[in-house]
Symmetry: C2
């Protein structure tokens, strides 16, 4: 069976190989989406994203709405043109930012009032407005406004919040339908419910009932133990339709990708590969490397001898270590490039393994080597 | 007449077209040398330096001696290998840094004691030691240790200082000869004398008498008025031999390059194109552009429509302006790339104009357009 915007090509256990069709191109899944919050993946040239095989990037509604603002984006002819990125863009709704960056937010049935983290100005997001903003941005994958609760929160609060998120999701769908967008500009619902199984079930079933082009699992990777996260992915995934893409928001590490792809997740995004890169942490096939560690000062081998990126083909750990000690930009540029390349190549390897029916072997082999150093 | 390491190909007025031969390759002059103080040109990939036509970069003896230290550089097999740069490297002697970064330095006939700006540790540089360090670095152009005086300073002090620098230069030459380096690893003397004509004459004549592979004019662009600098270049240049390269240290702006090439200077280095780039100032054929200026927020034209760099071919001033406002790394990366490309292309244009005997027209045309905006 083929749904027009998503093809499920093959399954290997619960892990899935697919293709997501959007108005700016196709994305093979499972995929890792580099995060470009403010319209740039930090310290990376767009041409390098293309070279390393990124087919889609994330941007953030909250941030772009505040700066440069919708007027500028409109004049530019949309976000793709503004940032000169011709491949797909998924925009997060800004729900997470409104709730995580604002102590003064006021939530109501209508929407959420918040203050700009830039100048303190007051703003009001409704589910409808957030869809409209993403329409102007020209997003290929539009996310509904949701309330993303902290961890841990009591069951009662999470229940009320998941119900509100659901009512917002319905209004989002109505607004999206009104806008009558190009068919391949997709709308994804977001499932909440914190770490409560019954609420994950409720949120999943009722969000699916509304009907979206894909389903995101939100509210995880916010401080709960990893085991709890994996459990909640499992408790959510089982209520999701087979023929729609599933997106685990804000996740994660190489291990997270493997363990969650094993449970049927198709899409991921996370700032960690680039954020940690800027702090000197590199991801390698033999595990994590902290370039600020004294042992690398005179280690004249590449970060990862199996890696084909510009950093690994040209520079040694000793040089990278020097760049971090000397607080040189080139260090974080080279390490960000490497880490993103690592995540993108890992998902490519995973896709190939699913295609060959060898996901479990590949996972085992990768983790054995990756966790060996730790 | 051809001196083995420097060919003077053509003159147009006093402006000169030449080729400097070094152990890692040839450099067409006039040339602008990007500054890579700590073994990296800030925020620029070495592959991009190559693409934009950089044939030589600078590095700094003082900085590299302190960090990563000579032990690491030695283990790496020299600076070229450590930073993976296969073209020529000129290393400044560190004199300027010892004198500008150290309030506690103690100068004597023997050398200069200073404290590390990193950890406060005490070190002692002699003219001989600085040559030895540059030997280990593997520098293609080695600079002598000099005392770089502030501006303004009294005649008596400058006189004594220029005499000391001269005695150090003699010792440097002796040490250099002892090391018996590859013929195309060159040694440059440095002429001091602040803004005193008689001392510039003294320093130039006596430094030339020692005999070096090239002559640097030091102690300028340290706060004196531009007119004074141009005058001192003229007052120094006339005592320099025709068939050796002349290097004006720490200079400069596009105007400086044109005005000093007109006076017979061959080589330049300056941190301004990259330092100002990081602050949002772009160099364009129509003058300087401050990307933080409100007028560029919705200017959807490239920085410089005549420029062929990655930045200008792909991005608008509006996007660059957004990146600077949002304090994104990509802004300073793209602007650094553009500014360096601008300086390198300007020197290429100048070389072509000398070759065609049209230096004066090119200079006039460039300045008319460049200064139009200001």
């Amino acid at each position: 069976m083929v749904i027009k915007h998503f093809e499920l090509l093959k399954k290997d256990g619960k892990s899935r190989l697919g293709i997501l069709h959007t108005s700016h191109g196709d994305i093979e899944t499972p995929c890792f989406m580099p995060v470009g919050t403010q319209g740039t993946v930090k310290a990376i040239f767009p041409s390098d994203l293309i070279k390393m095989g990124a087919k889609i990037i994330l941007a953030n509604t909250y941030h772009l709405y505040l700066r440069p603002g919708m007027d500028i984006i409109k004049q530019a002819g949309g976000l793709h043109k503004f940032i000169n990125w011709s491949l797909p863009i998924l925009t997060d709704s800004g729900g997470f930012q409104v709730f995580s960056m604002n102590d003064l937010r006021k939530i109501s049935e209508q929407g959420v009032e918040f203050r700009s983290h830039i100048d303190g100005s007051k703003h009001f997001f409704t589910p409808e407005k957030v869809i409209e903003i993403q329409d102007v941005l020209g997003s290929d994958v539009i996310m509904v406004l949701d309330e993303c609760v902290e961890y841990p929160v009591e069951h009662d609060y999470v229940k009320a919040s998941a119900e509100l998120t659901l009512r917002w999701a319905k209004r989002s769908k109505v607004k999206y339908n009104e806008l009558n967008l190009n068919n391949n500009r997709l709308l994804f619902g977001i499932i909440q419910g914190s770490t409560y199984k019954d609420l994950r079930k409720f949120s999943a079933e009722s969000t699916v009932e509304i009907g979206f082009d894909g389903y995101a699992i939100g509210g995880l990777s916010v401080g709960e133990p990893s085991e709890r996260m994996y459990e909640m992915v499992s408790e959510t995934e089982k209520f999701l339709p087979e023929y729609k893409p599933r997106y685990l928001m804000g996740v994660g590490t190489p291990e997270d990708l493997l363990l969650c792809i094993e449970q049927g997740i198709d899409m991921f995004d996370c700032v960690l590969p680039t954020r940690n890169a800027r702090n000197g942490q590199a991801l390698t096939s033999a595990g994590k490397v902290n370039l600020k560690n004294a042992r690398y000062k005179n280690d004249f081998s590449p970060l990862d001898s199996e890696c084909d990126c510009y950093t690994c083909k040209n520079f040694t750990k000793a040089y990278l270590s020097h760049l971090f000690r000397a607080e040189e930009f080139l260090g974080l540029q080279l390490n960000s490039l490497h880490n993103l390349n690592f995540m993108l190549k890992l998902t490519e390897t995973i896709r190939n393994s699913i295609s060959e029916g060898k996901f479990k072997e590949t996972k085992k082999e990768f983790l054995k080597k990756y966790q060996g150093l730790q």
